[in-house]
């Protein structure tokens, strides 16, 4: 890959990387949307879901839906702030796009291995709240405004437990680079047994649970879906969006879920690393498969909760973050620090 890059030039490589990462968002959204939203939810609810489009269990349904959205009329509310209204979905998708830049899928399969990768990923992932606020404000709709303000309050509150959950991993790994974290997990051992490497979920299980809960809130999924709450705010900040712009929000939602599941898999489950596979070439081939498998396992947990639980009220939701998650996160860091010094 590196020699290849030397042959075809810097600009071309950048273009290829951009296309791949841009492609990851809709592909991730379609995979998660199909497997979990259409199929898993349907079977949990004792129904089949779409069965006909594409032949095999309706796999083409979401692509068809996407095409349908493209054909729809682009409706904008009369009193909307037109430019902000149009930009908001893009801002949401861009924040997802930026997260994918630092998630490694193999020794060389990474756009940019930043030294502060974890920090960067969490920082850009919360950019989406700006898009949400823009959408809610520009829609000139009271439901949208309520939804956007709820989203802003919620995303700010849950940013903290998300960070605190990851600090434990960073302390244990001794690096903030995602590539470095994967390698540490692959190369270390559990009490001398190195067959599994040492995925941080074994030592950072509190952090993992915290991360999942906070990620669920960042994704505004049940039980933290007060901002979109379709039974009261109808769809919150997205209520005025139709057609292609709505498709952007939809892709953004599931693309972000894909990204967060990928982050969780990388931080806690060893990412692309397969213990015992040290050759870079093999890692580049098998790494994406390993990452995808782990990612889907994490996403399954997320969506399982999403389709089962009712939602918390706004004040209860804040109480969960400030009264429980943050103290637990701090205690976890303390504990990790203690063990780091002791062993």
């Amino acid at each position: 890959m590196i020699t290849l890059a030397a042959d075809i030039g810097w600009g071309t490589v950048l273009a290829i990387k951009t296309v791949i990462v841009l492609g990851m968002i809709p592909v991730g959204a379609i995979v998660l949307g199909y497997v979990f939203l259409l199929k898993m939810m349907a079977h949990m609810q004792s129904r089949l879901g779409p069965m006909d489009p594409g032949g095999f269990h309706g796999w083409f349904q979401l692509v068809g839906d996407g095409i349908k959205f493209l054909q729809k009329e682009d409706i904008m509310p009369e009193q909307a702030d037109r430019r902000v209204f149009a930009m908001a979905p893009a801002v949401v998708v861009i924040s997802t796009f930026l997260v994918f830049i630092v998630i490694p899928a193999g020794p060389d399969l990474i756009v940019r291995d930043l030294d502060v990768g974890v920090f960067y990923a969490l920082a850009v992932s919360s950019l989406s709240v700006i898009g949400v606020l823009m959408a809610g404000w520009a829609s000139a709709n009271k439901f949208a405004l309520l939804g956007a303000l709820r989203a802003a309050a919620q995303l700010i509150a849950y940013e903290l437990p998300l960070l605190l959950a990851v600090v434990g991993v960073v302390v244990q790994a001794g690096t903030m680079s995602l590539q470095g974290i994967v390698e540490v997990q692959r190369d270390s051992a559990i009490f001398g047994f190195d067959g599994l490497g040492n995925p941080f979920i074994l030592t950072q299980f509190i952090g993992f649970a915290l991360f999942l809960v906070a990620a669920q809130a960042e994704l505004t999924q049940t039980p933290f879906d007060m901002p979109v709450a379709e039974s009261e705010l109808v769809s919150g900040y997205m209520v005025e969006y139709t057609g292609f712009r709505f498709l952007f929000f939809f892709i953004g939602e599931f693309g972000t879920a894909f990204a967060f599941a990928g982050l969780a898999a990388t931080l806690f489950l060893g990412g692309w690393g397969i213990p015992g596979v040290d050759s870079a070439a093999l890692g580049n081939v098998l790494g994406p498969v390993a990452l995808f498998t782990k990612l889907m396992a994490v996403a399954f947990l997320m969506f399982w909760v999403r389709f089962t639980y009712p939602r918390l009220r706004e004040d209860q939701l804040q109480a969960v973050a400030w009264k429980y998650l943050i103290p637990i996160g701090l205690a976890n860091i303390l504990l990790t620090g203690f063990f780091k010094v002791a062993f």
Partner: protein, 395 residues
């Protein structure tokens, strides 16, 4: 945009909620935020049809709420005056469309009472069974849908699935899945089909299993409890003074059920059943009471299947039904609450006037009192837990 009028001249009451709001106002003098008027409905998923709720909000807190009804008014009371008695059951099927069969019963009773005839025992039994089945269908849907109102998607599908089992039974007996139109003055249209009794027994087991699922999946869920406990408390005496009835009132600790306490009708006096109450009066209590009542109804259906006598299903009635002049008032315990028909006859083939007392109309009349001071998400919880049908409000 003109502002909709809110709460026309409500009588001043000394209510702790008012005091709390006054106290808040004192504190927030410097941070005075403008009120926002939010229109929930008439097209809104939580309103079971076309209820419009004008809510005045301070942030997320409701200051005043005003239900606007009438978007679904179909003029049934007037329409009954130009129909003959057998034709009217078609109309009243559509008042509370979730439990259509139960609607027919009080009207047919009123007509039979005026004519001085009584349906044979087997017909009475079948009527009671179908009434209880429609109660089960209504409540099972509620048990699932209440999950949806507080944000859980999956229970709603279980509710629809279990209701479908019961609707299949009603359809196989009456021919109508939603609107049976099965009652006749003096009896029923047909006897039960072959094999129906055994089918009902096995379906009742399914419904009981479904109730267990709801008990664990919804009522046993911590988040559901947090969302519903202490939300929308109706004090028993106040609820009764607003005319709230049925499970909503029993959930406030008022031990009153027309099947047991009212004028005897159908075969309820021969049945052994328990009237469930809950002391709390909040949304969770309403859910719990309906859950127990569904189970109780299942037990009643099984009892009736055991006791059902053989015999004719129609009494002797004249070919052209003319109801003698007179007035009759019959009220029954319908799934949504107390439902009554006041029928005035002048001796013609149709009634002179029919006044319909429907449960949901009185049940939502408490909303302005109940919604003051709660948060927006709780509005939906309360609307869901009161469980009204717009057809039953507007008629």
């Amino acid at each position: 945009m003109t502002e909709p009028t809110l709460l026309p001249g409500a009588t001043p009451r000394l209510d702790p909620r008012d005091m709390r709001h006054l106290a808040d106002a004192q504190v927030n003098v410097e941070l005075d935020t403008g009120d926002m008027i939010l229109n929930l409905g008439p097209q809104h998923p939580a309103t079971h049809g076309t209820l419009r709720l004008v809510v005045r909000l301070d942030g997320e807190r409701v200051i005043a709420a005003d239900p606007v009804i009438g978007y679904m008014h179909r003029g049934y009371e007037k329409l009954t005056e130009v129909r003959s008695y057998p034709q009217i059951t078609t109309l009243i099927n559509r008042i509370d469309w979730l439990s259509s069969f139960a609607n027919e019963v009080p009207f047919i009773h009123a007509a039979e009472q005026l004519m001085g005839i009584e349906a044979p025992p087997r017909a009475q039994y079948i009527r009671t069974i179908l009434t209880e089945l429609s109660r089960i269908a209504t409540f099972v849907l509620f048990l699932g849908e209440m999950g949806l109102q507080v944000g859980a998607l999956t229970p709603a599908f279980y509710g629809f699935r279990d209701r479908e089992h019961v609707l299949n039974l009603i359809e196989s007996a009456t021919g109508g899945r939603f609107h049976p139109n099965f009652n006749r003055i003096g009896g029923l249209k047909d006897d039960l089909p072959w094999g129906w009794v055994n089918e009902t027994r096995s379906t009742m087991k399914l419904v009981l299993d479904g109730c267990d699922v709801f008990d664990r999946l919804v009522a046993g869920n911590e988040i559901f409890e947090a969302r519903t406990r202490g939300v929308g408390i109706i004090p028993g005496a106040l609820g009764a003074s607003y005319g709230v009835s049925g499970s909503n009132l029993r959930a406030s600790g008022v031990d009153w059920d027309l099947r047991r306490d009212g004028k005897p009708y159908l075969v309820y006096p021969e049945l052994d059943f328990k009237v469930w109450t809950h002391p709390d009066g909040d949304s969770f209590a309403r859910y719990w009471v309906r859950l127990q009542e569904t189970r109780e109804s299942v037990r009643m259906v099984v009892q009736m299947l055991d006791q059902m006598p053989e015999g004719p299903i129609m009494a002797k009635v004249p070919r052209i039904i003319k109801v003698p002049a007179g007035e009759a008032w019959v009220e029954t315990e319908n799934p949504l609450g107390q439902m009554g028909y006041y029928v005035v006859s002048k001796g013609a083939i149709g009634p002179f006037r029919v006044k319909i007392r429907s449960a949901s109309f009185s049940n939502v009349s408490i909303l302005p009192w109940l919604l003051r001071g709660v948060y927006v998400p709780d509005v939906i919880t309360i609307l869901g837990s009161l469980y009204f049908i717009l057809g039953d409000i507007d008629r």
